[in-house]
Symmetry: C2
Subunit: 81 residues, 2 copies
């Protein structure tokens, strides 16, 4: 478990990268390049999809890192198109 | 932490729902209804996206459950189209 101090550090970092992604999605939605009902939900969905890779990716496994990156890039892009 | 026995129970359940989703994606890919480079990766991505909801959804929050379901249905569908 995290101490209160470290929790605050981690929480600040988490909000920072969530906000950076949400800003990108908001800008894309404003220009009509992205289609998303709610940018906050899309932000959380994309981050959850990506952090999930940590739980199963193994170097030297069935797929190369480049293959995984290519498919994730395609899936993430499509969620907001 | 889980005992070895409970770990096996959970692992069996996990493989079961992963396999059920992957079978759907494989069937859709075979008929050309779904487009996905690798059905296993798509399976893990969709499950990660969905289980992420547990970490932030609160009943009575900014969005209703129906709104969240609608957007997730749209995003998940688009990842494999």
């Amino acid at each position: 478990n995290l101490t209160a101090e470290n929790f605050n550090v981690v929480e600040t970092l988490r909000r920072s990268y969530e906000d950076r992604l949400e800003t990108i999605l908001q800008q894309g939605a404003a220009t009509g390049d992205f289609v998303t009902a709610d940018t906050k939900i899309a932000t959380l969905a994309v981050i959850a999809m990506l952090t999930g890779v940590n739980t199963w990716f193994r170097s030297g496994g069935r797929l190369s890192l480049d293959q995984v990156i290519a498919q994730y890039w395609d899936m993430v892009r499509k969620t907001v198109l």
